[in-house]
């Protein structure tokens, strides 16, 4: 299907189904129940899942295939956001031109930064990209204020020209981003008993783009280009003595992954039309590295899983406060309740980073292949019952 082998096609299909039914899957708990705060099926968070999924998929093309660890990818995300918002300000509120410009601008940016940074490899490459990203952040935060809005960020205004669309709505408000008349924030709510499922247009728009991005990344992984990139990670010396020049390959991978980041940035601005310099901050670059490693470096689906996991923790765990904890442990005797709450408290709310850190550590130590390796081990565990069957044993290549 679509030029994919059977395994990849079924993976794509599974992802497509999961993404399509995410509003149901992420809302397993009925509204008003104690567990409802673990529901993640609201549009804002679901959009973030797929957008950061795109970001991580792109990052994985560079890091997973070539092994070049960029610590400045958030710069491209930020550039994409700014480009998209400018398109909303100048052209129209249609998201398509905004996203196209975001991708192109991020691509050009990546070409320049990549050309310089890829002169070095290993830790020096990482530091160079980090330096460039921090420079971009500093520029956006102060020097380029007329273009980036500085500290307050770039926002839409009533007096923006918007030459192809209306500058204001009939009610005199700033228009919202849309796709040929459909507004990104449009939602349909479905009530089923005490469950409420929200279907948001913006989410499905991002989801379709993520599926396209995911499909493209599978094709890149399986193409000769992808094979060269894996060869670069494996043995640059041999590649050189085989008559291949690694530099243009790594640069192409860098630009492609920069364009993915720009796409994510453009989508972010399309969902919520503002852009701020903090999107370029180095912690944002670090986050995508964590996502990719958490999910599984060099695997197809890993980055998406990692992005989902981190964004889920960021939004759900950080919402738990001490009152909620007291509610959970109310059944315990008073003194014990306080003790348990005090022990858990550092890991929730603003302390969610602590939880993330622990999860990350556990994954890196016990599952070096990330969540994907965890899944494979589970599959093996459950598949062991079938191991008596000689057929399944012989399909494993002897290694």
């Amino acid at each position: 299907m679509f030029g994919l082998n059977k395994k990849d096609a079924s993976l794509l299909l599974i992802v497509a189904v999961l993404v399509a039914f995410a509003p149901f899957l992420l809302n397993p708990f009925p509204e008003g129940s104690a567990m409802a705060q673990f529901n993640a099926g609201y549009p804002d968070l679901m959009q973030r899942f797929v957008i950061f999924g795109i970001f991580a998929i792109g990052f994985n093309i560079l890091f997973g295939l070539t092994g070049y660890l960029s610590f400045g990818h958030a710069a491209f995300l930020g550039v994409g956001s700014y480009a998209a918002v400018w398109m909303f300000k100048l052209l129209s509120m249609n998201v398509l031109p905004a996203i196209v410009l975001a991708v192109i601008t991020a691509g050009i940016f990546a070409l320049i930064i990549g050309y310089v940074s890829l002169r070095r490899s290993g830790i020096y490459f990482s530091i160079l990209t980090l330096a460039f990203a921090q420079m971009s952040f500093a520029l956006a935060y102060s020097v380029l204020t007329p273009i980036t809005g500085g500290e307050t960020g770039l926002q839409l205004a009533l007096d923006d020209p918007r030459i192809l669309g209306s500058a204001t709505t009939a009610e005199g408000n700033i228009p919202v981003p849309g796709l040929f008349g459909l507004e990104m924030r449009d939602s349909v709510e479905l009530m089923m008993g005490s469950w409420v499922f929200t279907f948001n247009l913006g989410y499905y728009f991002c989801a379709i783009i993520m599926l396209i991005a995911f499909y493209l990344s599978i094709r890149i992984f399986r193409s000769p280009f992808g094979m060269m990139l894996r060869a670069i990670k494996s043995n640059q010396q041999r590649l050189n003595y085989t008559g291949l020049n690694p530099r243009p390959y790594t640069l192409a991978a860098f630009v492609i992954s920069g364009m993915y980041a720009g796409l994510a940035g453009g989508l972010m601005a399309s969902m919520d039309p503002l852009a701020g310099a903090e999107r370029m901050f180095w912690t944002a670059s670090g986050e995508v590295v964590l996502m990719t490693i958490l999910g599984g470096v060099g695997t197809l689906i890993g980055p998406v899983l990692g992005a989902g996991m981190i964004k889920y923790m960021e939004n759900i765990i950080s919402k738990i406060n001490s009152d909620i904890l007291h509610g959970w442990f109310a059944f315990l005797p008073d003194g014990l309740e306080d003790l348990v709450v005090t022990m858990i408290y550092p890991f929730i709310g603003k302390g969610w980073h602590l939880t993330l850190g622990i999860v990350f550590m556990l994954v890196v130590i016990f599952l070096p292949g990330g969540l994907v390796e965890g899944g494979q081990r589970l599959a093996k565990l459950f598949g062991r019952k079938k191991a008596d069957n000689p057929k399944s044993a012989s399909t494993e290549p002897a290694e």
Partner: protein, 251 residues
């Protein structure tokens, strides 16, 4: 006029004269061995041929063109393939993928954007690669992870990767170093077979006299960065200068 002409090559590392006025001519379709004791400059010379090092003075001509100032991948594109002392292969890739990479390099040059068609849809290159794997008796290992193979198999794969590009000159840097006797003999047989079947020039750097004398048609003895003698294996065997270089004055 040989296919490879090294003239007056000097290379100095700080105070050490690694190569001093090296002259070497490798005739087409022969197997030329370069031997010498440790520190004689064999590897330095080899690195000068493939673009890893640039000699201080002198010239290196291959097939009528200078190789100096070219990068290793450009020199490979000219038709020189190199086999390393420890097998250099793409350990993270399967044997088949290892074979396909040189095929792509040969067909498309040092860089090509291939679009997003699958690697495996390149029927012509796949045939080439499979054919070569059959020739070195590795076709049954085609889907194996190459890092998990034995050293002898890695060496075989590396040679197959070089040969599939149909190089004019094959450079071998101590191809049997650290190998068991049986593996060494296998390698010798493989090289003999390669020599007989193809029009290929082989330059080999080797410590093991057994290998040298069973393969080489011409031998250059290098000592302290300068060639001592160049002659046929028969004449080299009893040459007093060679004995002196290897065993010291006392012999």
């Amino acid at each position: 006029m040989g296919i490879l002409e090294v003239k007056d090559v000097n290379k100095r590392f700080g105070g050490l004269q690694a190569l001093g006025n090296v002259n070497l001519s490798v005739a087409e379709n022969t197997c030329h061995a370069i031997i010498g004791p440790n520190g004689a400059g064999k590897s330095t010379l080899l690195n000068c041929l493939v673009g890893k090092l640039i000699p201080d003075t002198g010239s290196v001509m291959f097939d009528g063109q200078s190789v100096l100032g070219r990068t290793p991948f450009e020199i490979n594109q000219m038709g020189i393939s190199r086999v390393f002392q420890t097998p250099e292969i793409f350990g993270d890739l399967t044997v088949m993928e290892n074979m396909l990479i040189p095929c792509f390099a040969k067909r498309d040059g040092s860089f090509a954007l291939h679009g997003i068609r699958s690697v495996m849809s390149e029927a012509e290159l796949r045939d080439q690669a499979e054919h070569m794997l059959e020739e070195v008796n590795m076709i049954d290992k085609r889907d194996m992870h190459s890092a998990s193979m034995s050293r002898g198999d890695k060496r075989r794969l590396e040679m197959a990767m070089c040969l599939v590009q149909k190089p004019k000159l094959l450079l071998l840097d101590e191809p049997t170093a650290g190998m068991a006797r049986a593996d060494t003999n296998n390698t010798i047989d493989l090289l003999k077979e390669i020599k007989e079947k193809r029009n290929i020039t082989i330059a080999i750097i080797e410590h093991d006299m057994h290998v040298v004398f069973s393969l080489a048609e011409r031998i250059t003895v290098l000592a302290q960065g300068t060639p001592l003698v160049e002659d046929t294996p028969e004449n080299i065997k009893g040459h007093p200068k060679v004995k002196e270089a290897y065993l010291g004055e006392a012999a």
